[in-house]
């Protein structure tokens, strides 16, 4: 069975969804694809359709408008799927706490595997989070990896 585990950890395909953040995290995520950081070294590809993706990378606090669309995207993704919440907005909706149209972090709606702190987190932090999630899926994740 370790061939399957090896395959699953070596080619995590991600899909990105911005739930109303300030798109600082989005441009850092896209910057992670470019030559200097290059996510493809780990086999990570940014896919367009939820059917093709394993990991849902979410940035931004959930606005009420986008909530059910986010859940629908999550449902469309095939099983073994994970959620990565990138940025303090996604973790807790921090800077937009008092805004009436914001519902807060991603975990109020979806089961989140990895939180990436930072506003916005640097591309290295995002890559480190995805690699930690891969190790966690491997089972040999070190102690502090949740």
């Amino acid at each position: 069975m370790n061939l399957l585990k090896w395959a699953r950890t070596k080619s995590p395909w991600i899909i990105h969804f911005n739930t109303g953040g300030c798109n600082g995290c989005d441009i850092e995520l896209v910057a992670a694809l470019t030559p200097r950081f290059d996510l493809e070294r780990f086999g990570i590809l940014l896919k367009g359709s939820p059917r093709h993706a394993d990991m849902l990378v979410v940035t931004g606090p959930i606005t009420l408008q986008v909530k059910n669309r986010l859940v629908r995207i999550y449902d469309q993704m095939p099983e073994p799927k994970n959620v990565v919440a990138v940025g303090t907005c996604a973790t807790s909706g921090a800077p937009f706490q008092e805004c009436y149209n914001v519902q807060g972090g991603i975990d109020t709606v979806l089961p989140v595997d990895v939180y990436v702190a930072g506003c916005p987190p640097k591309p290295e932090a995002i890559i480190d989070a995805i690699v930690k999630l891969i190790q966690k899926k491997d089972g040999e994740g070190d102690e502090e990896g949740k």
């Binding site: 061939l3 399957l4 090896w6 395959a7 699953r8 070596k10 080619s11 470019t34 030559p35 290059d38 493809e40 070294r41 780990f42 086999g43 896919k47 367009g48 359709s49 059917r51 093709h52 394993d54 469309q76 095939p78 099983e79 073994p80």
Partner: protein, 317 residues
């Protein structure tokens, strides 16, 4: 069916070898495409990421396989199988380990052309059966594009046959080993075949049917899990088939050269063609579907007919 030819079919120049070649060439393609964009490409799976396509394939095999309720179940199931089987079957017609392919008969070139058209029909059925707006538009674009490049491709595949006066790829390869390579005799044909095969592979200048930024993933939007794995493998096999075809028809195919076995020559040439295709993929922006069709009809078609006329006057022989 003697044991040897069964072994040939199953193992050496047959299925196992072709699948390995498909995975290897996808790695070559992704690596060169990344290097042209000044980045690394797959690096951490196997040495320099060689096993990355295999990892992708097995991961997709293990994923949940969703069939949309509104889709036409049977076609949705069969399309990936056809998309994978067609290029694999056509590869047996191309000479790999010796000057004659596993199955060589007069007219196998016509079968190859027929197989190329069937592949696009499967693409159309795949897109049409997954009832999703993006797939519908993607499949319509695939058919439109096929109408565009089909005729120049047939003309340009026929011109080597005219030069070698035979419709079998193996005999064309033999003919080339006696005369000059056809790329020197018919350079226009070589260029047009390259462009048409780019369109056949639905690669960047011609990837309107699965344009990621316009229609999500085009006709592949609804496929996931095993079906997507078969589509991925089918795409790689088509890449191998396209480069093998260019090598056999225009670059002299597999022939032994002062005690280097033909298989090595064949691999070298096809690898170079894959690098060339990958370079073209990195150098262009995507054309709109109407630009593709009008461009091909306005420029490639007259050139292809010119090529055929030239052969009649004895230039291409």
């Amino acid at each position: 069916m003697e044991i040897t030819s069964l072994l040939n079919i199953l193992i050496f120049p047959g299925i196992i070898f072709l699948l390995a070649l498909a995975f290897f060439y996808e790695w070559v393609d992704r690596k060169t495409f990344a290097r042209f964009q000044n980045r690394y490409g797959p690096l951490h799976t196997g040495i320099h990421g060689v096993l990355q396509p295999i990892a992708d394939f097995f991961k997709l095999l293990a994923k949940e396989d969703i069939t949309p309720s509104a889709s036409d179940k049977l076609t949705f199931l069969l399309a990936p199988i056809f998309y994978f089987a067609l290029p694999l079957a056509t590869m047996f017609l191309v000479p790999i380990s010796s000057q004659t392919s596993l199955i060589a008969f007069e007219g196998d070139l016509i079968f190859v052309i027929f197989a190329f058209t069937m592949m696009i029909i499967t693409v159309f059925l795949a897109g049409w059966s997954s009832v999703n707006r993006f797939s519908t538009i993607g499949s319509m674009r695939a058919i439109l594009q096929m109408i565009g490049y089909e005729i120049p491709m047939v003309l340009v595949m026929a011109s080597p046959a005219m030069a070698a006066k035979s419709l079998s790829i193996s005999r064309i390869v033999e003919w080339q080993s006696l005369h000059l390579w056809l790329v020197l005799l018919q350079p226009i044909g070589f260029a047009i075949l390259l462009v048409c095969l780019l369109a056949e592979l639905q690669v960047v200048p011609f990837d309107a049917p699965e344009a990621e930024t316009e229609i999500v993933a085009g006709w592949k939007t609804e496929f996931s899990g095993r079906k997507l794995a078969l589509f991925q493998l089918g795409r790689d096999l088509k890449l191998v088939l396209a480069s093998a075809l260019i090598t056999s028809l225009y670059l002299g195919g597999a022939h032994s050269l002062l005690l280097i076995p033909p298989i090595i020559i064949f691999l070298a040439k096809t690898a170079l063609t894959v690098v060339l295709l990958s370079f073209l993929r990195a150098a262009f922006a995507r054309f709109r579907i109407d630009q593709v069709v009008s461009g091909i009809w306005k420029y490639l078609l007259p050139l292809a007919t010119l090529q055929v006329i030239l052969i009649q006057f004895g230039f291409g022989r």
